[in-house]
Symmetry: D2
Subunit: 374 residues, 4 copies
């Protein structure tokens, strides 16, 4: 269903003797440093973006800790806001100087996966015994956004102009956090009148809460243990909050629903405990929509799975990308339906990105997301 | 989403001093015996059916072995073909003497689950720490079909007249085997041009193969190790067969698909090995449609799950029931699209049902399904 | 797909010598009068409800004007709130004295249509050359809700208990107006980020506007010519309003969308002009979701239909009914997501219902909906 | 939802002094002639194909008759089989010399329409008061396939390699006829056990019949008046045929279905009579899937539309294109599920294409489709 879209050209472009830029580079486990790199070349289908604002994602912390493998020397980051600096020779429909975002996932548009309705999986199936997340290229298989400049591949598919009225921080959550969080509600097929539980209220969980609200759930139960996050959850649309450090969340959710369970449970952390709890609170026929990035095998307890006879679904979603998705998310922001600025709790210069990593990776000071400006 | 539909009346009906019938009764682990019971009363919404043909299901063997708990004294069996003997006082639209089938699962029609598009889960959510299969009542929570007479609850929802041209054995697979097997393809949302792998070619797996064919899959790969079953699989629609006793089925399916994997993998056995293999052969974005009744916890290997980022789905289906489902399945049979008679390999009188259990539970003599006639 | 559910019993029940009640009765074209009738009997599957609040629908005005034919002597009305007075002998799961609503459409639960996912079409296909709206029985094929008492058929399918915290007027819009209006958005499959136009802002159009908002549309354009209705439209979720008495609504909507058109256009009036305008503002691939009750043939202009090549859809919805639908809608009300009380502009005693018809049918005094209390 | 993808370059390429090729050119109403043109240039995203087999479509006859407007001088045709002669500078993943097909509709892959799941509508919304069929470019907005050479735009999205085992005529129906015909069944969401009526058994109607069969319909009723076409319909999967010159097709279909009507009716002609008949045979809740290219306004009779209350859908489909669609259709052919060679009734050299137009446009000699070879 998928075909290779490897673009070996990206490596060769970083040749010596070229104008330089600053970039946050993965050196080795526990070391991401700000260093210089040549400003990359632009292939015929690419666009070069001058980054104006970017941010750090939990996945970047996985990379930092060596839990998710990337090549040494790679620039990290997949959430770009910027200005088009240069367009590839075959790119039409855009102009240099336009302010744009690009999704964290950059589908080609022309792969079989894209043409089959599965654009995020726009890549080869197997590599070293692991299914790669095909469409995730920035900061994964090509240089990423935590830099002064970024090459956006398949620019006609991926560049989304930012409406003038919206500031950088207003659209900073669109490339990944909102797209992924909303996908949790969308893949769960939330309907008007649904009861939805969202496990973990980090940035993605908070956006899943907002997504469930957007789609018409009438009872949204947000689970976390950090009081401040539960407060933000209420602001994002939760009707009730459950502090799992104080009560058993499964028991509490069953109590709140008179034993019926929830229509959709969204997992937004990536741990066995939350996955299992999400499964246990489902009504017969309910759906577990999983957003977490797991780091070990999962167990499905027989009883929580009704021995396979519960008409339950477990669905996973990789962040949807592409310019149309970005356009729609910016419309959500422009309409005032969701204000994701509440998620930006700290701001750093690119020069201080190592400090930002330190703060963010240790989840200090109530950090939700940081804004990084070159 | 579901509400209780327990019908305590069923127990009281079996009072002494009544006309008797023969029935296959669960006595204790490893003992199902043919014994006498009173012919049951008929409540206002019920119908009493005189069984003309029935069969034994793999689930009945789970009950026999004590792997699935039912009350002692319960009549087993959930696959009835018969004649309406008596209609409840509030039942309209049917006539005594009509030949009918009823699905293995007997939804009420009026529960919230039914009205929410999830009719098979027509029951309470939790009981003794286990999610019951609400809509499965015959031979589970009320007396079943391996008897001379059967009470069909909510008769207006569940009785489906058999077209005159179809013999008992032609429709005997409709109540469970075809309904469940086809549901594997339906829940997997098989599309024209899909590649589908079906793991295990017992009766349900064979019907899943037929269902994938019916829905337009163009490459169907059937997996089993019994040569005769693989032959029947070809007759039911498989394009290729994989004998997992000779090759690693995951490697073989990836080889057959040039490394792309399958769009839909159907699990029809209920074991970790088949569940895991089904997960491993999925393309990114593919769906595992699970039909098996599991008897222990399941493991989801991290790599087979792409760490949660593969846009994969795991969906489970309980046999769809109700008269409209039965009508459609009998239409499939009447159209000649699928001939499930090939699955009936042995025939027994009800008097010999203990022998039938012995043959079937030991899978001797190439048995697929047995026909039992009172 | 559907089978007959005619219940001739209803006629015979109204025999002389019985306790009487007041009811609004269709006498002849342009005459609906308050008169006395016997309190009806209760069949085994029925419930008798003592009406506490009801209302008048635009469809009732069609009946009054002779535009929609019903039998003379029929009690009109299909939007009941009341107290269970008596339960049929086969009804379980409810108690006399419970406060309940029932949907305008009362599916049986057991028809083939119900079991096929099309519960509102729960009736025979053809009658006198016209496809009847099978599931619509109250005030159409059986006596309706504008009376002191109402028989609810198939009570286990149709009675929905009202949460204690909700007043009668809070749930009065659930049986028809909200269910139909929301269905406009649901059948249109509104998605996060969609642009939606809603033509006509009567009670149903206003609820369609609210439904589009509930499902995540980010740009909702409400069209009407009554200023007060456009104001209520804003309160119900419209982002922009178009007064078609001042501008051409097609041109204006294309202007507002930079020529792209809308993803979903909802027709909520039942006229050629609105149907055609809704078609003309669709983007390629967009959906016209039609709620109106038309009274003459419709024309599809060739250009508005892209000669059949626009990947457009035209979908129609009859008000979804059944207790689960009602439960969900009351959840929407209880959650505070939508407050339909703004639609109740006038209140009358049942004794004054003829005055209420006069006001409502002439659309005087800014009336949206009236509350009628026996 | 769509953005402009106009490629003005195509016109300028045909400059004088270049190598020439033969092409079927629209000169004026009723005149398509074989003439010489320069072999076109190849832009960076294009591929130049040397046509080995092509065919004539009913739409080409509309063009010939002046019923569908195209520019004078345009090469006609949109169903190419050929060999890659030259690849654009930015095209990767293909090799010169490969045998390929391209769909009649050539989506860009990168437009908002493509990224929104509506790839066939890959173009601007309005042009001269008419919604253009955005993605239909060959023989509509750019030079087409009835020539010795063809430029395929957005080649990475549109070129589909032909498996070696399949001959040109085996895949000749994939670009349009099979893709469109199957789309009739797909957009109608045909399910296992459905009853489907297909109005008109020309090449597209025959493929709609095959598509309904592929998707699991168990009763397929084909309507036409040409005996030979009804015979081919049976071979393609029809269970019953209705000759509308002998019986009223609406009455006959209602008779055949015991008055219930059909789940899905597919219109494959583009006339008021067939559109209206398709609407009249629908069951409540059924879907009219329209494939025809209409040439005048349509009327929806009030009764056939149940006044808007029948939960009916009218859906239209433009031929799905793109390489993944082509891959899947060629898989259908390779699997032997459908053999579309029966549709090729006549063969011509490109030099004789004017004779082919004469035969085909007058529907002489039992012609279904012609194969044209340069």
């Amino acid at each position: 269903m998928t075909d290779t879209i490897e673009r070996p050209g990206f490596v060769e472009r970083n040749r010596p003797g070229r104008a330089k830029m600053k970039a946050a580079i993965f050196v080795e486990k526990n070391r991401i440093v700000l260093d210089e790199k040549p400003i990359p070349d632009v292939g015929p289908l690419d666009a070069l973006i001058r980054i104006t604002t970017t941010t750090i994602c939990g996945t970047d912390v996985h990379i930092l800790k060596g839990e998710y493998p990337v090549e040494k020397g790679l620039t990290i980051g997949h959430e770009p806001v910027g200005i088009i600096e240069k367009l590839g020779s075959a790119v039409e429909g855009f102009a240099e100087g336009q302010r744009v975002i690009a999704g964290a996932i950059t589908p080609s548009g022309y792969s079989n996966a894209c043409l089959c309705g599965c654009a995020s999986q726009d890549g080869p199936r197997m590599k070293h015994g692991f299914k790669p997340m095909g469409g995730w290229r920035f900061g994964n298989t090509i240089d990423g956004a935590q830099a002064e400049y970024l090459v956006v591949p398949d620019a006609m598919t991926n560049l989304a102009p930012v409406p003038e009225a919206l500031g950088d921080e207003q659209v900073l959550m669109c490339p990944d956090i909102m797209s992924t969080g909303f996908a949790g509600a969308e893949s769960g097929k939330v309907r008007i009148g649904d009861t939805v539980a969202v496990f973990a209220q980090g940035p993605i969980g908070l956006c899943a809460t907002a997504g469930a609200r957007l789609m018409g759930a009438t009872r949204i139960i947000a689970v976390d243990r950090v009081g401040e996050r539960l407060n933000v959850a209420r602001a994002m649309g939760a009707d009730e909050v459950v502090d799992f450090s104080k009560v058993d969340p499964v028991e509490e959710i069953l109590r709140l629903t008179d034993g019926r369970g929830v229509d959709v449970a969204i997992e937004a952390l990536g741990r066995q405990e939350t996955f299992e709890a999400a499964l246990r609170v489902l009504r017969p026929g309910g759906t577990l929509s999983s957003l977490g990035v797991y780091s070990s095998d999962l167990k499905i307890p027989l009883d929580a799975f009704a021995a396979g006879l519960g008409d339950n679904k477990i669905v996973t979603s990789l962040c949807p990308g592409g310019k149309e998705r970005m356009r729609r998310l910016m419309d959500v922001v422009a309409s005032g339906r969701v204000d994701a600025r509440a998620l930006v709790t700290h701001r750093f210069k690119l020069d201080d990105i190592e400090k930002a990593y330190d703060l963010f990776s240790h989840q200090r000071d109530g950090v939700l997301k940081v804004a990084i400006t070159p």
